[in-house]
Symmetry: C2
Subunit: 531 residues, 2 copies
């Protein structure tokens, strides 16, 4: 999961609701047959202006001084563990170092005293399973990914697999591929567990680890890993995804879920409707022969209104779960730290769709499904000129779905729309699809995470979910357990060059060092145990 | 010039005219602002049902038996000349063998007795100029191209630069890159000249040769070659492009011109209207950020009516020169050999646009300008899934233009249409543009070519022009001299694997061998001289 999120200086003016927009399906000039089914982009009415305030969650009270001291005494050793992980490349898109990294994780777990640690065969890269038997009442499940993104070494100021400590504006940082996504936070979490074990002889909770080596290539086989331990995993009180969750300035953003997604290819080829069936032909025949690329463009265009954003596929917006009162309170709270201009600047974008701002933008961000063209291609796409009439044109498309929308039903609606518009010949090839995942803020695990942030003095804003997607429905829907991804850590450069994680923050930066991240995890594990 | 044309068994039922279609510009759902300028696809009324019959042109009467005999006696040597040319690769898209081939042509001309033969510097590959001074009253200009297309050697049944003689269903053929396009026909023409010179001591006409080495990459610098000899070239009676002009079965198709073309790229990028300006961003932001690929699709879609073919750019069809009576007669003649189903089958196409057939299809083919997407690309186009919101999407587009339409004005109309539709931010980058070229069938040079075909017993159908494009306006418009491209030769595989030219035709094939092609050229040169 690679969605970057943003906070800012607090452009927290509460805005009015999104203006009502009720659109009839616009079909003129968009397709070859007329259909008058309606597509209605919903408008949600807020019933409360109250804002969730994380400070109202009672702070976690206990201290675990001996464990904290162990962390302070062994911090160099702990940094070395992170370095050891980063120095083992495990680039799933290129198949580099996968087995080596899986075995490294497995042997680390065994060394820490995990009763079970084994590779889990899948139809792709193996998973890693670990079980620490503390004889405890409660069990914590931990999701990990041991793979990383590729690198362009020439773009890095420090070699990506040397894991050097670098002086940086944010302090002393550990630079390398995986430093923040996710080897750094994950090994920091294991350092925390190790410190508890070394100090007390055991853990306050049992721990089940399921690690996959395909997160960066779509998590296609992760369900096989879960299936292998499913009954045991269902006994867990919750699942933790160790993740750096601070933003520059020190604000923690806590996301309680992710959107779902369906991803497909849409392809126009020549056939009975017209166009060349077998191969591209000389461009001069365009005068007599239909154009598949223009047909694809027309089919894509038929799916939105003239604004380019309102989807006119009938029923596309039907079934979105409106913001609950609890979610409205979270959104009202988020609006206080949401900064449209800051996010736009970081993305290089001049404006949002419909010119929404503030709370309206947050509602759009969280509750509206998307229709996106990830890529499009067909015909001659090299330098210079070549005059051909292509026989084929293809688009990669996706739709991100908030809770309430089913990915397969969404794709069926799109198929029906295309059929109704006379584009029945266009082929849809489905790739991934999975629904949204969401944990309620009232869940004891979420409350525990907030209470530990509060004890340790980290400001927290809580969001219902990310607009990004990950197959976390496996936890929340399939296993039925709450999900928390958290820590006060800070990192940047995820998926790009010069990825790092802060080890010792600069004074006044508001960021946390590795020691604080590990102490947060210590408290979180105890808080979950009720100790 | 690589447009393949087709004949067939004569589905020669005369059809009615294209039904009147007068379209108001359709803008609903196609753009962001409304404009009501009109685009009218014209309908042409035929005033004659008479068909041009090439047989009515009196056959050329003279014989040049000594020259024919020389050809027969030296045919192996003549084949060897073609082989020598093909064995010298001259692949302009890859910059292979260009200077070597230019020098080979130059030295061949000197050896034949050309008074002038020299390389012509341009800003690209050099041209070759040759002048044979026969002290004659009339001068023949000859256009040549000495470059060829690239090859995929593994697709060939005979090595493309070995120029082997192969037994084939059509007879004994010479296989190699350039065998038909255009080294074979061109060297055959020089063999014919050489036979006249060897037999008679001179030629009946002066000959000016302008050869370029960039035909396969757009003829960008050919005007520089013409400019270097412009005043002398204007004294020529006509320009010949030696070309294999038979179709399977033996029908000669004689085209009297070509369409013009304008080629451009259309690009949508993020900017003030929305969308990411600098780079692709995470796909989850599609919920707040506009999509350049969808904007490009919408802009392209805005340019045609719902049928996908009728261009709604205001004024797009204005100015097309309607078929003259002479052209109507040619078209009525063409209709007798035009075979919709045969051409469709060879192209792999199920139907023509508007379901036109017969004469209507010919009129559509010749008189309508096209709007084509040669290629389209943007975002992630490799295997699998990547969720990005691209900041850019681009289409390569072209419009082929019949006589009467100016390429630059056409592009201006498209620019205005895009501006009017709210797509002023889309960038147009123009590549090539040149107008159509056309020689009248009444021209003495055309009549001479037909008279020689008639003498030698080759059935001829004459078309006003090709729907393909080439910068032959340089001859017909700029130099003001008539253009003929002809010979009864036959070849196939142009631009693809296993290119060949027939050397000895199979009995009953209706095709002609190298000897007959060369004798045709001998007669044509004398006919042009009036001897």
């Amino acid at each position: 999961m690679s969605t970057k999120t943003h906070s800012g200086r607090g452009a927290g003016v509460l805005r009015g609701l999104i203006p009502p927009v009720v659109l009839a399906l616009v079909v003129a000039a968009a397709g070859s047959s007329a259909s008058h089914a309606e597509s209605v982009r919903p408008v949600f009415t807020f019933t409360t202006e109250e804002a969730f305030d994380a400070d109202t969650v009672p702070a976690y009270a206990a201290d675990h001084d001996k464990v904290y001291a162990h962390i302070d005494e062994h911090i160099d050793e702990h940094v070395a563990h992170l370095q050891r992980w980063i120095r083992q490349p495990s680039i799933s898109p290129q198949g580099v170092g996968i087995i080596e990294m899986a075995n490294l994780l497995k042997s680390d777990l065994l060394e820490m005293g995990f009763a079970e640690a084994e590779l889990v065969p899948t139809d792709g890269n193996p998973g890693v399973w670990g079980y620490y038997d503390a004889g405890a009442e409660k069990t914590l499940m931990v999701y990990m990914m041991y793979d990383v993104q590729p690198v362009n070494e020439e773009d890095w100021i420090s070699p990506p697999f040397e894991a050097r400590l670098i002086d940086h504006e944010h302090g002393r940082v550990l630079m390398g591929r995986g430093a923040s996504n996710q080897k750094g936070p994950q090994r920091a979490f294991l350092n925390a567990l190790d410190s508890i074990i070394k100090t007390t002889g055991s853990l306050p909770v049992n721990v089940m680890i399921t690690a996959e080596g395909e997160e960066e290539i779509g998590s296609v086989h992760y369900p096989q890993i879960v299936a292998a331990y499913e009954e045991r995993l269902k006994t867990a009180s919750g699942v933790l995804f160790p993740m750096n969750s601070k933003r520059p300035g020190g604000q923690v953003i806590m996301d309680l879920g992710v959107k779902g997604i369906v991803y497909w290819e849409l392809e126009a080829t020549g056939g009975a409707w017209g166009g060349p069936r077998n191969n591209e032909i000389h461009g001069s025949y365009r005068v007599l022969v239909d154009s598949p690329p223009m047909r694809l463009a027309r089919a894509i265009t038929s799916m939105t209104a003239a604004d380019g954003n309102t989807v006119v596929v009938p029923g596309f917006y039907d079934g979105i779960e409106p913001p609950s009162v609890a979610q409205q309170r979270l959104i009202n709270g988020m609006a206080k730290v949401w900064d449209d201009a800051g996010v736009q600047e970081s993305l290089g974008v001049d404006r949002w769709v419909y010119d929404v701002t503030g709370r309206d933008a947050i509602v759009q961000y969280l509750y509206m499904p998307t229709l996106n063209v990830d890529g499009i291609w067909g015909g001659y796409i090299d330098a210079g000129t070549k005059t051909v009439l292509p026989h084929k044109a293809t688009a990669k498309m996706d739709s991100r779905l908030p809770p309430g929308l089913d990915p397969d039903e969404t794709l069926e609606k799109i198929r029906r729309h295309l059929d109704d518009q006379g584009f029945g010949d266009l082929v849809i090839r489905k790739y991934d699809s999975y629904p949204a995942a969401h944990t309620q803020v009232e869940d004891p695990f979420v409350q525990a995470a907030i209470s530990v942030y509060n004890k340790r003095g980290h400001p927290v804003a809580v969001r219902p979910w990310l607009a990004g997607s990950a197959p976390f429905y496996m936890f929340t829907e399939h296993l039925g357990i709450p999900l928390v991804f958290s820590s006060p850590g800070y990192g940047a450069g995820v998926h790009g060059p010069n990825e790092y994680m802060v080890i010792e923050p600069a004074a006044g930066s508001g960021l946390s060092g590795l020691d604080e991240v590990q102490k947060y995890y210590v408290d979180l594990v105890y808080a979950l145990a009720g100790e």
